[in-house]
């Protein structure tokens, strides 16, 4: 059992009955990364959606911006225990991107500039649960936080919300992404505290 250091409080945080188990509230927005921040030129930015048969749909930045967008307010829960409530984003719903796509796939592997990957069931990207977000709190999404655009899937731990997203690959078999293959839980539901394998 760790000893308590007298007088150590740490940065402002509180627990809130509305938070998932084990989380505490923060007011800042910590930056956590598995690699250098990619710098992506908007003139070359692309998002690819690839089905299990290899059919590919690609959006460049103007094409993404032309799609109907949504302003959303969501709570973020990071596996490192901080939560940030009521964050405001603007993005394109995955329902919009998947509209008209024919697929029998049950899973998605999401990829990013810089090589990061994460996996989740396709069902978790549908029905108003996920967005390609490019604006945070009324401004352009900062590269440190995943800009120009990131995936946002707030009902799962934040590592599933891949920063610098550039590909969504639909698959019939599930494949573990970057953190899922080295201990992080395959699904990651914060309300069931699914942080690591076997949780």
């Amino acid at each position: 059992m760790a000893i308590v250091s007298r007088g150590f409080k740490g940065r402002g945080r509180s627990s809130d009955p509305d938070l998932p188990p084990g989380q505490y509230l923060v007011t800042d927005f910590p930056v956590l990364s598995a690699g250098p921040t990619p710098r992506v030129d908007l003139r070359r930015w692309q998002l690819k959606l690839v089905t299990e048969t290899g059919d590919t749909q690609t959006w460049d930045w103007p094409a993404l911006q032309a799609l109907p967008r949504e302003d959303i307010t969501v709570d973020l829960h990071c596996v490192t225990k901080w939560s940030k409530l009521g964050t405001r984003w603007t993005g394109i719903s995955l329902d919009t991107l998947l509209d008209g796509i024919t697929t029998a796939a049950g899973f998605a592997l999401v990829g990013s500039y810089g090589g990061y990957t994460t996996n989740l069931p396709l069902a978790d990207l549908r029905d108003g649960q996920a967005w390609i977000a490019f604006s945070y709190e009324g401004g352009d999404l900062d590269p440190e936080h995943g800009g120009p655009a990131r995936l946002l899937v707030p009902h799962l731990y934040l590592w599933k919300s891949a920063k610098w997203v550039n590909e969504i690959r639909l698959q019939e078999q599930d494949t573990q992404g970057f953190w899922e293959s080295v201990g992080y839980h395959n699904y990651g539901d914060p309300w069931q505290e699914q942080r690591y394998w076997g949780d």
Partner: protein, 93 residues
């Protein structure tokens, strides 16, 4: 930004829970580009719940370490091997 990057010295504490000898001074060969050097000179990005070490030449991942209470996961698949100095017993008098 470069300020967010540390080096392999930052792995020493967590690796000390797993290995009996210091691994940061060990020499590793990157699986991707075949360049080699001490683990201490890799680029380390710390995510609080996981550490990632990248080859300082090609930036590919050479090591990943995740720590939960009571267990850790270590992936060394980005290294072909490690050359580790092990203190030998002194020769008999």
């Amino acid at each position: 930004m470069t300020q967010s990057r540390l080096d392999g010295n930052a792995l020493a504490g967590n690796l000390s829970e797993i290995f009996r000898v210091d691994i940061t001074a060990a020499f590793g060969q990157c699986t991707h580009c075949k360049n080699g050097g001490p683990v201490a000179e890799t680029w380390v990005f710390s995510s609080a719940a996981g550490m990632v070490a990248r080859c300082p030449v090609c930036a590919e991942v050479v090591l990943r370490l995740v720590r939960d209470t009571g267990r850790a996961w270590l992936d060394l698949s980005g290294l072909d091997c490690l050359q580790i100095a092990i203190p030998d017993d002194p020769p008999p008098a």
